[in-house]
Symmetry: C2
Subunit: 314 residues, 2 copies
């Protein structure tokens, strides 16, 4: 199975309104509830692709109960629903609210702070994580850290995964990324903003290679609509969709992570992994529902993704 | 005991952000959760004033569970916590989100639609309501109707209360108010906007007396910072605070309803009822927490409220 970790899970609410006007009152026309937090999104995409997937992290309170119910129901259709291995906490799982203007398609985001995690809860989590590594073919560590968890938490989890011989992908930002990358994860997947924070450079090639020198075996940088740039032990590649796609980019990065994890477990070569990651990402942007992918679009995009070794690799 | 009805209960969330910017991402600095819907606010204020209070209406889903827990915990301090007589439903109680800009104090409101009520759930409610009327000294019918409930619902409940000999106050708007007022409630409490919708007039005296001719025994119109205007069988009065108060007006109308209900059960004269309603309303605006009142301010405002019979009463 593939294991995903979401320390700061969320109940994601999407509100559709004609247009958000500050200091006015709005009747919300439509409410969509989804299990949220990057690792849960990755797990749902993996389940939709037919992989056996286990999701761990934290969940608590009424919002946490709702997240668990939604995780079960939204993955019930596939051959392997996501197995829920979330660790209960005394605090309540946070909500995020995305207010979508139906007139313009623009989104306003409101993110609640996460619940504080106690030392006993962190200890219970690390014990569960270590158990779950036995049987995992790959693990993804995704998203921000909730309050109460030490900033070196991802570095600690990367070391535990490596000690267990399980390939590990890290998708986070800021100081948790800086510390985590030094613990030598197999893959990190920053976007350009996260990479600039880490390396001080906004030049994609330079920054991606700089990040790799900090410890990651491979760095896969998201270039948004222009695809993915990967610095790996086998070389440097740029994978691009046949044309930029228009739609809702929410969850596109999580779909790329899901494809890279699947590639790790199948031991495919890098160009193949990147092709799947770019096609799945673009198919996610094209889906009308944020964080889900358009399966026919995924199939039709796969043969049209281009992968090349850029000249600046020299 | 005093009975309050909230057909469209809510989980009220208050998010504090420095300033809401459309199409940007915001970290919410503080989240406050409260049981919401006008009738629950009225019940909490009555409980804080020491009255035995029963709250009915509908609650369902994880949000409904949270509303019930919050109702129990937020009224646990007084001599009589609000007794929860909410009727369970299969749908989920709606959320409302108030985004408060801490820089300006302005609020942006997002209100989810309520859950659809089935005919069986409405039948269960009316049976519970009729049981509860036996023992009630007054009843308040508050707020909007959720989907699935017929627009004459409040008229039906007013008739049931009158048949049971229980004084009834109606606080709603639009067509439910128009139908409800024709069933002859003891008091209706519109604001100027609701009154203009009902009567077509924005002139407070004319509109208040017009509303009374439509069937209510008394009409108490909220004039916002300028107090209350009441057309009653005993005469016309205007009650005003000593000076306009600055603060958060959320819940000020619900506090006025609580004071008017308490006056109904104590059979005080109209000037006394209006004095309490204006002082309690102003003390609610002055409270730092939306929907709660500042008890020392209430005590100090009471002797300073003025009530006069306006010249235009002639």
């Amino acid at each position: 199975m593939i294991l995903t970790v979401t320390l700061n899970t969320a109940l994601d609410l999407t509100y559709r309104v004609p247009a958000l006007v500050p200091h006015a009152s709005h009747r919300v026309a439509q409410v969509i509830e989804r299990p949220g937090g990057k690792g849960l999104n990755v797990a749902r995409v993996l389940a939709a692709l037919g992989h056996e997937t286990v999701a761990t992290g934290f969940a608590g309170g009424a919002t946490g109960e709702t997240v668990r119910e939604l995780l079960a129901t939204t993955t019930a259709g596939g051959p392997h629903p996501v197995r829920d291995a979330l660790v209960p906490i005394s605090g309540a799982t946070r909500r995020t609210v995305a207010v979508v203007d139906t007139e313009s398609g623009d989104t306003t985001q409101l993110n609640e702070p996460g619940p504080a995690i106690t030392p006993a809860e962190w200890a219970a989590f690390t014990a569960r994580f270590t158990e779950l590594l036995d049987g995992a073919r790959a693990v993804a560590l995704c998203g921000s850290l909730p309050p109460g968890i030490h900033v070196g938490a991802y570095a600690e989890l990367v070391r535990r995964a490596r000690a267990a011989g399980v390939p590990v992908l890290l998708d986070t930002s800021g100081e948790p990324l800086r510390r985590g990358i030094a613990a030598r994860p197999d893959i990190v997947k920053p976007n350009l903003e996260e990479l600039a924070q880490l390396t001080g450079s906004r030049e994609p090639y330079r920054a991606t290679r700089d990040a790799r020198r900090r410890g990651a075996h491979a760095v896969v940088t998201s270039l948004g609509p222009e695809g993915l740039l990967a610095a790996t032990p086998e070389g440097l590649w740029h994978a691009s969709p046949p044309a930029p796609v228009r739609g809702n980019p929410t969850g596109a990065g999580d779909s790329a992570v899901a494809a890279l994890l699947a590639g790790l477990t199948e031991d495919t070569d890098w160009p193949t992994r990147l092709t799947h990651a770019v096609a799945l990402s673009a198919a996610t942007v094209l889906s009308p529902v944020a964080g889900e992918f358009d399966a026919p679009a995924y199939a039709s995009l796969l043969p049209r993704v281009t992968v090349h070794e850029p000249a600046s690799a020299a």
